[in-house]
Symmetry: C2
Subunit: 182 residues, 2 copies
């Protein structure tokens, strides 16, 4: 398991076997139930217990905003910010020719049919700031240019709490070109 | 000296004393000359040999853009990006009440008289993304609101090359709120 080496594994195993607080049968049942019940949401591909996840089926969520992410796991940090109240769509990866991942392997047809069905006002591309993220953003921008919606991308720039001296040149040049009016 | 501990210092001293390549007298003269000749530029406070630095006296620089930084050293990473061709103004610090630094200790009167003399079209605040940077940006925004110029701030968001999983929550929420139309 990630982050658990042989020594930690031994400690956990002994604790499960010997501690009064440990409930190994319950833990085993919970892991088994999670493996059997958690499936990708049929709409957005986020982790879900039913066919449609809690975010997609929440009527309080703003259906006019659709945030496109690379992986379902990217939804977790965005949810932790607490500022986004729209819906998501996970592509299941990003365009990466060196890894032989092209647009055909991504959930792009599902994205297009969702846009037709739900008519969001804005699509927010929350893709990585690396080469593959750029390629995927450019591909989607070309694809969605004809649709009558606003297409945005999350900002690239200096991270919160940082000064200029800790930013690399590419980040600083993107922070300069993406400067915002006050 | 920063980054040079006792062992490195000994190695350098022995190299200066014993190596054929070492030119200790020239190095000593260069250090002495630099200490005597490098002064803050009278306009922008960047490192300068004459009264006015190379950037302020370069006629090829766009005088319509003025980039406000906290420290003169912040000009170095911005210059390394190679994308900015305007001028700079170093404040000599930032508003930090906990460190007893208020607006009075900063080169703000010099900034105002430069704006009156040079009438830049745009002021770019290239301040840090921490609490003190925010406070300084807000103070300057209030101060410059009446002037007929565009006031911008460099973007905050995910750094170049990074994915969503490596960004903290505050950075992600600023990347979301600062999203740009494609």
């Amino acid at each position: 398991m990630p982050g658990i080496g042989p020594r930690s594994a031994e400690r956990i195993a002994l604790w499960m076997n010997q501690s009064r607080d440990a409930r190994p049968l319950e833990i085993a049942a919970a892991i088994g139930a999670a493996a059997e019940t958690i499936r990708p949401c049929a709409k957005c591909a986020f982790f879900s217990i039913g066919p449609i996840c809690e975010i997609c089926s929440d009527p309080a969520r703003n259906s006019e905003l659709l945030c496109v992410v690379e992986q379902a796991t990217d939804i977790l940090p965005l949810e932790r910010t607490g500022v986004y109240r729209g819906r998501y769509h996970a592509l299941g990866g990003r365009i990466a020719p060196l890894d032989h991942v092209g647009p055909d392997q991504l959930r792009i047809p599902e994205l297009l049919s969702r846009i037709d069905a739900e008519s969001p006002r804005e699509i927010i591309l929350a893709l990585g700031a690396d080469v593959e993220g750029e390629a995927t953003a450019n591909y989607l921008a070309d694809l969605l240019r004809e649709k009558s919606l606003t297409l945005t991308r999350i900002a690239q720039g200096i991270p919160a709490g940082g000064g200029l001296e800790s930013a690399d040149e590419l980040t600083l040049s993107r922070a300069l070109s993406g400067r915002r009016q006050l």
